[in-house]
Symmetry: D2
Subunit: 433 residues, 4 copies
């Protein structure tokens, strides 16, 4: 396994593994959080999959349990039996070394096992995990601790997907149901001027620094040579993006990459996902239902193609991931993350420079998602976690309003295809200097 903390190839000092109590508590807390997120759902909502990219809520609940079952209980606590012989097949996401997975696009067609059975499966896995925490030999603990840590981070990723997938699933329903009707509305904010964080040319180190957990794709830490550049002090707002739309942004091919223009044409894009013009007024579908567009909120649910076209129209460009990390790496993780409770991007409240680096929306970079120099995935099925996706996708940075705060960091690399729009993804500009 190749995530930091257990990766013997890392030169950075190895931190002592979490104590069993600490890790058991984190395990329990993460597991409960998944279930809490499902509280607002009706029984009917759990099985829904409105497009191949999203998964049903019940599948997320089952797959995250499958992960602990497959990578912890099976090798280290074999006395725990199989819940059902087919679960290993049904809830395998993409680990070919475990076996050919059930087709992703058909996850929504599995009414059985029922949601109730899946909650029982979760409970059974949790019970076994607790027994394992209490009883496993000390010699196995470091590897177990590393895998549990990974499993918790994995479940947090699925918590974010659970929310973005529910949002998408609900959005296609003409009733436009709200995931929660008690979401706090952020202050309206203000239209703050954009300024630029200047960075001189030079060599920078990027990648995970070995402190705490990191995914294998953040390593090895390595040096990059950069020209001088500037990074925007804040995210692009709905109001700014609206100016692009009104300037004919979606009708003028000159702002678009060729593949982006094809996406615009074939999918008839005219605005970000979830924007809808109702009686001449732009509104947004949110996890709290339909709301009138707030021009001071960061724009969200744009594809890379749209982010790139916006930047070209604005006479700027998107940052590379190294440029982003260079600015972010010495800054504290704070912002409109999941804990703020908005579950939606929020207007900027006060002038900080740079602002909104963490939270609100994942920020598209222009960097292809590729292995860092010297990267090698680990042996075994866990080596499939990140490495095999390093093609055709782009890196996003900084977390979003549905990312848990403890989950994200400056070296964190998220990745999606350039046409993807159902994540909370937005725009921060960069420029040459």
């Amino acid at each position: 396994m190749n995530f930091i903390g257990s990766n013997s190839r890392q030169s950075t000092a190895h931190k002592p593994a979490s104590t069993r109590e600490t890790l058991a508590a984190r395990y329990s807390s993460v597991r409960r959080a998944s279930e809490t997120l499902c509280k607002p759902l009706a029984p009917d909502d759990y099985g829904l999959q409105a497009m191949p990219d999203v998964s049903p809520a019940k599948w997320h609940l089952a797959h995250t349990s499958w992960f602990f079952k497959t990578f912890l209980l099976n090798p280290f606590f074999p006395s725990y039996g199989r819940f059902h012989p087919q679960f290993e097949y049904l809830f395998n996401s993409y680990y070919q070394k475990i076996g050919a997975p059930f087709p992703r696009a058909q996850r929504g067609l599995l009414s059985r096992p029922t949601t109730e059975e899946i909650f029982r499966y979760r409970a059974q896995v949790d019970e076994a995990m607790e027994a394992m925490f209490a009883s496993v030999a000390e010699a196995l603990w470091p590897e177990i601790a590393a895998r549990v840590t990974l499993g918790c981070a994995h479940e947090e990723q699925h918590q974010e997907l659970l929310l973005t997938d529910i949002k998408y699933n609900f959005s296609i329903n003409p009733l436009k149901p709200a995931y929660r009707d008690d979401l706090p509305a952020p202050n309206n904010g203000a239209n703050m001027a954009m300024s630029w964080i200047e960075q001189p040319a030079g060599v920078q180190e990027i990648g995970h620094d070995g402190n705490g957990f990191g995914f294998d794709n953040e390593s090895p830490r390595h040096r990059v040579l950069q020209k001088s550049y500037a990074l925007a002090s804040r995210l692009i707002t709905n109001g700014e993006y609206l100016a692009f739309i009104e300037a004919g942004g979606y009708r003028r091919p000159e702002y678009w990459l060729a593949d982006g223009w094809r996406a615009v044409s074939e999918q008839a894009w005219q605005a970000p996902l979830y924007w809808e013009k109702i009686d001449g007024r732009w509104s947004l579908f949110t996890l709290g239902g339909v709301r009138v567009l707030n021009e001071n909120e960061p724009v969200s649910h744009v594809s890379f193609y749209e982010a790139d076209a916006y930047a070209r129209w604005a006479g700027k460009r998107l940052p590379t991931e190294a440029e982003w990390e260079t600015i972010a790496k010495n800054r504290k993780v704070r912002g409109n993350l999941r804990e703020s409770g908005f579950l939606h991007p929020a207007p900027l409240m006060d002038e900080v420079h740079p602002a909104q680096l963490f939270g609100d929306v994942w920020e598209w970079t222009c960097s292809a998602y590729a292995p860092y120099p010297g990267y090698r995935p680990s042996d075994g099925a866990l080596g499939e976690y990140n490495g095999k996706f390093m093609i055709n996708q782009l890196v996003l940075r900084g977390g979003s309003c549905v990312t848990p705060a403890e989950h994200v960091r400056a070296s964190y690399r998220n990745f999606f295809y350039p046409a993807d729009r159902w994540q909370f993804s937005g725009i921060r500009l960069a420029d040459d200097r």
Copy 2:
């Protein structure tokens, strides 16, 4: 509206309308039956739609209520309000005159309204219908009685679809869940010889005779000129169909219509739907789960293309719908219908001639589904009930093991596309004489 009993264009005598009590009782009984059929479902099952041709159980429950709401309550009992302004859109199946319906292929994506809300919708419609029965003016009663009668027949059609759709939805789940695990298994039966019912040439009358309810597509009753022919005394069995498979039936284009051969090739058909070879032995997926193939059962879940290819391989042909009705029209409706409780075709128990005309499986005819001479659909949206589907489909006759006995009759015309296989559809041969 153009079904018999209310259709002023029909020359047959108008039968007195049911008394209010009788019809109210029938209404209530049909409505309860739909709900009883859903009893074995888990909450997770109600929303499932595994292919565009099938509908979720909850949609069937809602749409049948919508029918009474739209065609009875709205015009005749307007004091009943709308349950939700969007239900008229969401649960309209195909009545363009009511408005553009919600896309059929996306019915499974509607987690809201929830199943619970749909049961409340049903209850509210039922309450209003009962109030209407009790209070409506006598002058309106004939039209109301005619529409309620149609609405009950309509709901019975959806009860059959509800079962065939659940069967399909469950079949694609690797867990192969049973709709019911308490279904009685029929006797094994015996391999009975086939004989032929001979019919001399001549003019026959077919179509609805005006006694009792009939759909508009069964009228007008009219005369047809037939050559002499013979109709098989019973249905083709699994064992007989297996001989066709083993003779290379699915690999030899000479038995197939050109469009049928394309279906075989493109969809990689190798046996009827729901047949699966497990460890060298043929098994069937049924509403009671997976069972070993019983060679004496009538073959089911074959397309018209397969029925036609089988007939050609056997040196016979399929009957026309008039040939079928000529033999059936003076015979009593009895057989393995829904009330027998098998919910599956059953082997022939004793020698009767002809046997299995009603129940077990719908019998493919070679007749294109077309209007009878002089047919005109009624004005208004109810005219869309049958008429607009009179193209590209073939007529099937006789009802199946999931058809209520009171629903079917000799003049009943069911219709499906030639490649459809998810209904209980089978084969009876005919031959020239």
Copy 3:
């Protein structure tokens, strides 16, 4: 082989076979006609296939030769060798008993054999056919004569397709090339009133009467029982069809069969094929290039769905094929056929009743293309000629402006899918009486 003249199952008297000289002359004349039709083509045009339904001109030239090679030379004149071992595969249209054919949709991808080689192939086949005519034993002559007669009719069918396919192939080119720029323009005609040919109820005989050649699908001649009806005295004109368009015909689902409405929606039909509104004025693409719409011409290039919708809008219906044939069977074949040289439907010039039964456009009937009672295709690959297409298509009657006069007759059954529009296909109404 099951076409009339050689079919021993036919009860009609067998006519003496053509003399060798007569048939050799007909063979030669038909073969030359195919080549004459290609004269206006540029070398670039021969390979074009703009949609799967059409075939390249060079493929028609090759396939018609393949037909004589496969069904005459191979069995009866084996001294003639193979031109190229792969031609049997490449130019087989759909005869599965000969072998799996080259995929239809890819015919346009065969730049080799070149057109020049295909003309050489034709010449070689012709030479061998002539040698066979001169030398074959008398005992074989009846069978040979029957097959040559069929082969000539087959080649005439491909001559018609050659013209309709070129028309389609050229139509999608923005340059809108004319197949011929020297086509005579018919007189403008006049807007003649429609009257009705009345036919009382009764039994009629339809099907081929055994005089001269007929395809197997025209047999057996048989009796049909008809209600009284009326057939329109002439075809529907562009002007009449335009009124349907202007009445919102393509926007109002109530006129359409459900499958037809889906075709309208999915394919965005707004007018017949080849109609285009240029600067506010309707024009047509013809084999002579783009022309202004002539309102007195019969409407052409409509699908069955459009013909049926027009009839419903007009308060009428389409005739059955038996109704059409009953009126046509005692009438002379004359009209705007290929020999008139217009290669386009022509306005009605004088009042005849009924007019335009033959020529101008194939007339959609509402009859599904199905076997006549007692029909059996012949043994061998020639049995695939017609029989295996008897599903999903509708019968058209009467020939068109690109049908050779000697090719068509009252019992002739053409057939196409209900959405097909690239043939010269139009509308004649019928009505109940």
Copy 4:
């Protein structure tokens, strides 16, 4: 315009423009070469387009003329008229600023203009270009020279495509025609051991150095920081690739990127494009027809996914484009390029280190095709030449056996999608040190 030689943003010294005579001679030579390459074609071959990615030969001939017409004659020699008003639309490849281009996938459906007309169009453009060379004002010459130079490079790119497209177009024909039957066969070669070119860590300069012509995507020249690495001394051979196939390479997902494995599964890849097992022996389709596989030839027609999977199987990786260029930049362009006349990769003849850097096959790198730091496309339609394709593609280096020698250089960046296989594309390994 942003290619080197005219780009004022380049800091490298501006070289004096070619003299008129020299450039006119180059123009003429390049133009003649396109026509020479078409000599082996039959008239039937010119219009063929067997998949959307390839273009017909006649389209290449027309589009390259359109390029000179649009970017030279229209602005600088307006007295030259339009050949046909629609040519500007039909032969625009992708320059949206010129207007929406004719759909790429339908280029093969344009039988008109005929090949003969296109040759006349070429001649007319050439005549006008010569007149322009002779008469244009000196002040315009630098810009004109720059554009002509670009146009010649552009036409050379299409010459390469013309050959790879013909190869693909012919490959799908069951007759397997040879483009030329007189191609020289290279010596069988020998199985030479692979060694490694070692490169220490450090900063390197890559990108066009300002000497001679370069495309805009090769600039700006810039510094990159590299770890130590090694580059393989030669290309991977068919024999080596065969070992990967025989080791189950196409059946084992662990060697593949996730998107690559999907391509393998969906497209049923089992070997490189053009490999076919005939009677148990591997053969290749080449521009000279079908040949037995030569194990010593470099493997070709592999996608990036296959190259990457091979490297993973071999325990190595693909080089970055900077790693490749670092080794290549001080080496002479020589190798099996178009001038060698093989039009096919050739076995290695003698031990050179590194060998085969130029020619034989384009070498897949693992670098996403992205703008170099500071890259900005030029204003105007010519800015669409390269920049808008900088997404979703990977860089290939070194030219192939169908690349003209004068066309390629160490800084040359070719780019294709990771699933593309119809180019001469192969594999050179790299490794960490």
